[in-house]
């Protein structure tokens, strides 16, 4: 099993090398003349205004929350889908109930109006 992953290991090294190579190549080639004006934060040409952070809405958090629940569900559904061909009908039904419960959660969140962009 681990032999399969040797290629992934090699590709991991190549992929990291690719990024580092591109950055260091440009580091070698580029001019370096920093000035305070240049390194100002970009705000469409205006002087930076106020703190570099803004208050966020909890809406973002709710989307991430629903995503998390569906993601964990996937960890169960993938083995289920993999075993699907050997499963009897009632076992498939169990999986469908599992999915429908999550669908119910989605409907609840929807009806509560938590999926609207405010």
């Amino acid at each position: 099993m681990l032999e399969q992953f040797t290629f992934v290991g090699f590709l991991l090294v190549v992929a990291l090398f690719l990024g580092i190579f591109l950055i260091s190549l440009s580091w070698l080639l580029r001019p370096k003349r920093p000035s305070p004006r240049k390194s100002e934060i970009y705000e469409c040409g205006l002087r930076p205004h106020g703190e570099p952070w803004v208050r966020f809405k909890a809406q973002y958090y709710i989307f991430a929350l629903v995503f998390l629940i569906f993601d964990v569900e996937a960890v169960f559904l993938f083995p289920w889908a993999l075993a699907y061909n050997w499963l009897p009908f009632y076992a498939v039904l169990e999986g469908v109930i599992f999915i429908l419960l999550l669908g119910a959660a989605l409907v609840y969140v929807w009806r509560k109006g938590a999926l609207e962009w405010m």
């Binding site: 992934v8 990291l16 991430a64 699907y84 009908f89 999550l102 989605l106 929807w110 962009w117």
Partner: protein, 411 residues
Amino acid sequence: MEFLSNLIVNIGVWIKGLLVGGGVAEHGAALVVKAIGAVVVGFFPLMVVVFLIWAYRKIAARMQGRLGPNSSGTWAGPYGILQTFADAIKMLTKEDIRPQGVDLIPYNLAPILVVFASVMVWAVIPFGPGRGLIGADLSIGIFYILAFSSAALIVFLMAGWSSNNKYATVGAFRAVAQLIGYEIPQLLAVLAVVMVTGSLSTQDIVGSQDVIFLVTLPVSAIIFFLASMAEINARPFELLEAESELVCGYFVEYSGMKFGMFYLAEFMNSVAVAAIFTTLFLGGWRGPWVDQAPILGTVWFLVKMGAVIFLWMLIQITLPRLRIDQMLAFNWKFLVPLALVNLCVVGLVNKGTTEGFPGGASAWTRGSILLGANLAMILATWGMLAVGERQARRRREAWQAAQAGELEVVV
């Protein structure tokens, strides 16, 4: 001829033979060939992207009645084919402006990791039949792809936050809030495929497509295509970095090659998504005469991938952008419920077919029953959308009539 018919594998065998002849142990030679394969696979998306950027600009220009990169003015090769190289040289030699107050390590790590994630996906894409033309035929193949593309989202947050710029931060959070939503329908569409195939390995998924899944599972295919359009932020969903409104979103503070790497990763992702779609729904490398000459499999694969990319360009170039609330509503209120229903229907119908035919249903029977169920789903969805639209229109008209009535009273 014999050599040419399975060119890539034979080159590998030849190199291995050379190494063994040179006194390298059998095991070590195999490792070296694997390492060379990793380099080829790692640089393959880069090569495709160099061509793709030129093709994209050329096609977009033609569709919009412009010329695009060409050799008038500054010479850039015939049809401007060297334009991408000129751009690359420009990016490499540009000064890298480091804004004040950035969080140095995450700021510099983000472009490296974004390229990293989009290269890693290619490990399990099958370019042809057998074990020689795929990086690693992992038993978790397609889940590995989903895992890497999911984990890659963190990089956007890293880039946005460490830039010390409120536009970058807002852009990163908006981008991630949208992208994580679109991963769910993608995932559920893949689950339907896995269910029918009974394996997560990409090679097995290709192998089980006697009838391509675009035909037997069209709803999954459409859901996957739309969701992955959003994942690579192609035009109708291109809100993450709306150039004029959000000033490029999360990578506004990046310049020079670091900016170039984000741009590159975006194109690499769209190639990867096209490859994944080809593998999952278009039968990957399968096509006529692949048995005789495995190299043809690679050709079929590239042709199908090119077709998907062309479709992507067609949509991207012609459509306008959605609003952010429309985009979120489209995902959460349309794609996710549809994908959930699709998964249930495919699961039950497919199992029902198996149980219903004691002798075992043939691939064609099963395929046509699945297709029928999918068509029913499409019709039902369409009907519901039409009814909803009519209701909305009636409400709007009633409201307008009421408004007009009130106005008359006032007058």
